[in-house]
Amino acid sequence: MSAETNLLDFARGPALEAALIILVFGIFWRLVGVLALPRTRDLSEPRVRHAWLGGVKTIFTRMWPRREFRPRILHWEAVSYIFHIGLAVVILGLVPHILLIRDITGLSWPGLPDGVITFAAGAALISLLALLAHRVTHPVLRQISNFDDYFSWLLVFTPLLTGLMAYYHLGGRYEDLLGLHMLSAELLLAWLPFSKLAHTVFFLFSRGVTGAVYSRRGARI
């Protein structure tokens, strides 16, 4: 009994703290390691001034594929969207999550009804499975995928699954499931900075830079 409560205490206490420290420090390290590399000033005569505005714009416009490309990619893009939105709804809409975020950051907002959360979690789980199936069957994805892709998948999948199980008290004691859920989510946070999951931060920079470079030339992007 006490061992199991300890699991939850551990997950709520030191594990959470450690995960958050690794997350923040890791992202910082990776970003600085990249942004501190030399940046040569572009001496060519710009066609468009204030090209950084184009960079900011690209961060948003690149959220959706151009008409020309849609026939070949839209279906999987849509699945990926379902996953991302589902995950965001679960992370930001579930009341206990909001309470945790309030404890850490002081920010809070109203939660979403249970039905919505369950639906979102289910949609995220199913789309994740579909994306995995896609990754292991599509020749391009098989070619370019590595350990990071599969491990990251697993670390996103597990907290979703354990979260749903805890929520519905399925397959074990609530405290155990909650402890597992928290630990798996913490593992995810600690892994994020070192993996492809860092795209949650990097997309701002890589889109922004390309947007600025192309805009400076007066090119569409």
Binding site: G33, V34, S44, E68, R72, F194, T210
Partner: protein, 455 residues
Amino acid sequence: MTGAETEFPPELDQPRLSVKKPEQRYDKQGEMDDAERLDRAMRGFVHDFGSTAALYMESCVHCGQCAEVCQYYVQTGDPKYTPIWKLEPFKQAYKREIGPFAPFFRLFKLKRRVTVQELEEWQELIYDSCTQCGRCTMVCPMGIDIASLVGLARHGMAAAGLVPHELWATVQRAQREGSPLGATPAVLKDRIAWLEDEHGVEIPLDRSQADVLMTISSIEIMKYPQSIVALARIMGRMGESWTFRSDGYEATNFSMFAGDRQGQREASLKLIEAAIAVGAKTLILPECGHAYQALRWQGANLYGRSLPFQVLQITEYLAEGIRQGRLGLQPLQSSATFHDPCQIVRRGGVNEAPREVLRALGVELREMDEHGAYNWCCGGGGGVVTIHRADPLRYKTYQIKMRQVEDTGAEMLVSSCSNCRQTFDDGQAHFHWDKTAQSLLELVADHLVTEQGNS
């Protein structure tokens, strides 16, 4: 290795220009052991490696969308042509040597050292099957500019002597003779004298002062000399003080294709110095896509300061002349479609000028389904058109273009890059196709209103 021009003679009687098909290929240059070759590859690769390239290396999410828009994957279905995969060894090297977690990767032996054999294997992916067209940049959800990374990878390959035979031989010639295709200053002089006679136009060469320095690509000198006449007609009509210079005329930059940084810089310096020497306010680049990329967007950076003159692609100049009412045109009763040269349009930012010119010519413009910044490459950019062993693959990618052009139902196919043009010529001959790519510049020159006319 020396004696490139005797050992590897140019082939000038084919629809596209290259060196003669080599009996024995030299795709590996210089004598050095593997350790040194590798070391050079890595040093060449990281030389211009800055935070932008590093950001790209960190950002890929392995979504595979880039493959879906790359002509090579689309036409073959072979996953090795996935754009980001073309950089795999360099990505490994980056993670192991430069990236923020490089010490960990090395400490825990998580990334192996790349081998020379791998680089040799990747030569086909870095050169033969990437025209640096930049189409993948337009789809990548992370906005990774793969074409520019391929450019960096080529720096590494060139430093290590791992350039495909034809590109390397062409660069040797360019650096020795000032032109990659035998268009030496003497040849240029001859051509100009002959064209002046034949066409009764004045083509100034080596004036000491001029407002405009005109440049030309050796593809035009050797294959499309009528472009030179067209330029002369237009400059005459614009009433501009202009000149060619035999110390700075060659606009192509095959060193850039090969990845030879030093050679690229030298080729650009020639043009820059010639423009400064004649006191030019404007340097005009001819119908040549990569020439625009090399000088307009990279020239100042290689020179080390901003250029004291403006650089225009000839189409921009034509559009300006039309806008100012200095180039009156006779209407052309025809429909046309325009092939966007990647380096001028998608990666150069000259989107509207060619369309403006076509409208002024009165043609009915029938755009391809995917055009402008989203066009399909002709398949010959990035130096690919010179590589014999890449021909079968190039014909496959060319079929996209043929289909696109056919679908428009337009009578004419027009473009503004002589490298695209020779790729079209070569593809046309191969497929016995009835469409010939025409030069926008020549169309304009052929439809100038007559001197007294006021139509």
